[in-house]
Symmetry: C2
């Protein structure tokens, strides 16, 4: 049946913005002094990796289409980086360059999920993942696990309860957005084994692999290379989120299917963004990266200490239960109180069933701004 | 049913590259002297609109996320441009900035098509449109019309024969890729009226609006503003295809649904690409545009005359029936013969049911290269 003037009903449940539940009052505050709701980094990209550094004379074709799979040089550089970090033998043919990790995860979902099929989402999760599943007519199934249980067995038991015959994939992010936790190695191992047992794809969101403060990150591909599509990004580590350049690593025989989705979503990843990424990997960014890491870690540690919370293990966020401080207007009222003091925070329900949580990003503004925003929150919480 | 290690069957019918039917021999010829198969432009972007011209000091946030709908300044500039050209009152809220026209058309399909629903494609068509429909689990229905019939009534009759109760939208491109023809004003009017009669959405691909050589382009929104999503791009007109910046214009109440799809496909259009586009619209590109237009038109006219074909009316292509020159190996053999002489052409079947056609782009290489490539083709055709 033709449906004009209606659009696809599948989109009714899809959020129109990352944080639709932010009270309008706070969104209107363009002049917010402490906009700590956004997941971003405040530093400019490393020297030599900015747009003004990219000369068409040095890079012929800088403004023309790149190969839809990615520039060959960048595919090679990424494969070397991934191989060295993850310990998994990785070739250029195992890599697909994408318009950010968003483009990569959308491609992985588009390639693995049919209408009506289900994807288990380890909650709390990155806010866009349920909408990605819905856009391709799949069904997102949130499973609160991180912070809910404290053993790999209990985590798998929760997933097992949520799995049905229509489940085709499981998504998790580590280092985790929003909690700042790392999934422990035995959790990743248990998830990999359980996924193998039930014939599931693994969608591993590893975009915060460069923001690890405690222990080390276990790459999902190191445990389940045959079934894992891992999404990565240059956005956060190199301060180039606006460039929209990331990549997916996964089994090469199936990566071509993801490439079909990206080809038909944005054709190719922006050429200049790929050149900037290539330069960021050639060594010139190393000192910058180390300094940024120190800045970010210290900002996170200071924020956690001031709020009386455990120090973050990774990513760039703190996830805070403010339930004890909510009055009758609930979370919206609390967020409005924050906004009235110039502080914007992301609402818990964007990350799963967390009606009393807020997320704070400690890397999206210079440290002094973050410190002042944290101070506002601490005073509201009586800490 | 879990499907690992299989991927979504919907992708089986989706092409993995723009021209999968190009013989392998020609693809291997990276050193092809006359690569006229690509739809691109050979000129660098206008002065002041290149990446090296974009300084972070001048544009704070140049490397950070842009608003997912588009930078407010660019939305305003595009609305003014579209309003002035199309004669349709257009506000910033009628515009969505997208990762190229590909991202815009994907969003329009994702927002209007449910699984199993059909989209009529006026053939010959842009090669990616069937795959976009399939990626969202819709059914593309090619309807050979352009060059098949010569009246608006006959065109509508063909569409009427192809329409079913599951048809929700009709797609057409004008100026047309690949034929170089413009859909006549009375065709656009008839298509608009017929679509209204049957409650269909119109997906109008108008990316070649700046490459009009004969007559003037009729904007679909000028006839059916309530049901048309028109896709545009900075890629071809401004020599910045690699930037991935385009836009969709359409009914504002429904544009939010398209924005949901882009948000979940690539989050935002690259920030630097939007700044480059904004600069391209501020007047500094005007002289460059005029000169480029002259170059392109003359190259097209020369190619058509040499091949004994009608001169192109618009877009950047010639679509040539080489049926009389095919031997037993068919089109693949002909394309291989071209490739052996350094000439790459796009195969007709990528544009619909055109087993004996080839497409030549006369703007993707400098004029002397195009002229030599055309000479190769003319000699193979005995012209």
């Amino acid at each position: 049946m033709p449906r004009f003037p209606d659009v696809s009903p599948a989109l009714a449940a899809v959020e129109g913005a990352v944080f639709t539940r932010l009270p309008a009052a706070s969104i209107a505050r363009a002049a917010a002094r402490f906009p700590l709701h956004v997941g971003d980094t405040w530093l400019e990209p490393p020297p030599g990796c900015r747009m003004q550094d990219l000369a068409a004379a040095e890079y012929p074709g800088l403004h023309r289409y790149a190969s839809p799979r990615g520039m060959p040089d960048l595919l090679e550089a990424v494969a070397r980086r991934v191989g060295a970090r993850s310990g998994v033998d990785t070739a250029a043919s195992d890599v697909l360059i994408t318009a950010g990790a968003t483009g990569g995860l959308a491609a992985a979902v588009g390639a693995t999920v049919q209408p009506g099929e289900e994807v288990l989402l380890l909650a709390p999760y990155w806010p866009l993942i349920p909408g990605i599943v819905r856009c391709f007519h799949g069904v997102p199934v949130p499973v609160p696990v991180i912070g809910t249980v404290d053993s790999a067995e209990a985590a798998v038991a929760l997933l097992a309860r949520a799995r049905t015959e229509r489940t085709v994939a499981v998504y998790f992010g580590s280092p985790n957005n929003p909690t700042g936790r790392m999934l422990p190695p035995d959790w990743i191992a248990a998830l990999a084994a359980w996924s193998a047992q039930h014939g599931l794809w693994i969608l591993a969101d590893e975009v915060y692999e460069d923001s690890v403060f405690t222990g080390s990150h276990v790459y999902a591909r190191s445990l389940a290379p045959e079934r894992t599509f891992a999404a990565h990004s240059f956005s956060k580590a190199f301060g180039m989120a606006g460039n929209r350049c990331g990549y997916v690593v996964g089994p090469r025989d199936h990566l071509a299917s993801l490439g079909k989705v990206t080809l038909h979503s944005f054709y190719s990843t922006p050429t200049a963004s790929q050149v900037a990424a290539l330069r960021a990997l050639d060594g010139r960014a190393d000192a910058w990266l180390e300094e940024a890491h120190t800045h970010y870690r210290e900002a996170g540690m200071r924020a956690a200490r001031r709020l009386g919370m455990p120090e973050p293990e990774g990513s760039t966020f703190l996830f805070i239960d403010v339930g004890a401080h909510l009055g009758p207007p609930g979370l919206a009222g609390f967020l409005a109180d924050c906004a009235a003091r110039g502080l914007l925070l992301a609402p818990g329900p964007s990350f799963g069933p967390y009606p009393t949580h807020v997320r704070l990003c400690y890397t999206c503004c210079p440290p002094d701004v973050v410190d002042q925003g944290v101070e506002v929150l601490a005073s509201l919480l009586g800490r």
